[in-house]
Structures are given as C-alpha cells and as structure tokens.
Amino acid sequence: MGPVAVGVDIVEVVEVEDSIRNHAERYLERVYTAREIADSRLADGSTDARRLAATFAAKEAALKALRATGAAIAPTDIEVTQRGSRLALRGAAASLAAARGIAGLQLSSSVTDDYAAAIVVAQIETAQ
C-alpha cells in the first residue's frame, strides 16, 4: 500500500439535535446536500439526527484527511452516499484532493444514540 493520510472525527448526536431545533432548514441546507437530507428523512418527515451526526463526522474526517485546514471548503462539497459508506467530492474539495494527489477515500463510521464517529483514509497517488 502506498502513502495514506488519515482523518477522524466524533460528533455528539445532541449537538445535531440542537442545531436542527435552533436553526432548522438553514442548518440542514448549509451543511448537508439535498441527497443527504433526503436520505436522513424519517417516515414522519423529521430528520434522523443520528444519521446526520454520522454524516457530519464523515465530512470532518474527510477534511482532516485532505489536510484542508487553510482551505475554504463548503460542507456540501463533501457528500456521504450509499447509506454512509461512500464519499463523493465536488468543487473545492475535489480540487484540493486532486492537488494533494489523492486517488481515493475510504470511509468507516459508527453511531450510537449519543455519538457518531468516522474515520477516513486517503490513498495518495503521488508524493506531495
């Protein structure tokens, strides 16, 4: 295996619940893509805070794996797809990944009633 970069993040589910309560759709639309929001909808139309917490943790873990500290990347430039198992990059996130020589991202996440955690491993194609 070639060089890799790793990112990890953990989110309290209650933080996401508070954000949904306090900022509603504005919070959802600034942080999550339309697909992520649709995927988190429950039968009663509400959103699954546990799932969104796992999605947020995955986005942050990806930013860390991309070494994006000084880069301007919108949360919606990183999308978690296929029931939380895959990452898709667009916009500034995709550009940064290309500049870093990242050939692929692997995501693993876990969630309980209280916490969601995610780890992302970035496979680096060329030494930077």
Binding site: R30, T69, I73
Partner: protein, 87 residues
C-alpha cells in the same frame, strides 16, 4: 473593528461554542479549538454570527482558521460588512 463587535462575538461564542472554559477567561487571540470548540459547534456559531450581525458567510470564507479565535472572527465579520456595504 469595534469592541462592541468582539463583545457580541463573545456572547454568541458563550451560547454556541460549547467551550470547555469560560469565554471571559480567553484572550482575543486564543485558539478556540484548543479551548474545546468542536467543528460542529463552529457551524452553529457561524449561523448565530450570521443572525447576530446580519451577514452571510460565503463558501469562500468557510475555512477552519476563520473561526479559530475571536480576533479571526472579528476580522471576518469586518470583511463581510465591508463587502456587503460595497454591494
């Protein structure tokens, strides 16, 4: 930038930052992430700053370091106000 700006930032930080320490003990240049602010809390802080200062953070300002200290946030708010006043 005015001291009123920083006072208001401190109020919003106390409400949204979920810091491990009292905001009053932090210097304007103190690292807020080191003080316990999570990345998710920084999103809530951003939304509260938008409401409190009637500004909108564009994608180009969504950098971790834009929210890393009270000084950095005040600079960002000033920049947004200047930009929006010109528009």
């Amino acid at each position: 930038m005015t001291s009123d700006t920083k006072t208001k930032i401190r109020e919003l930080l106390a409400e949204q930052g979920r810091l491990a320490v009292d905001v009053a003990t932090l210097a304007d240049g103190a690292d807020l992430y080191a003080a316990g602010m999570t990345s998710h809390a920084s999103v809530n802080l951003m939304l509260a700053l938008e409401d409190g200062f009637d500004v909108e953070f564009p994608d180009s300002m969504l950098r971790r370091d834009a929210f890393e200290s009270i000084d950095a946030i005040a600079t960002a708010i000033d920049e947004l106000r200047r930009t929006e006043n010109r528009a």
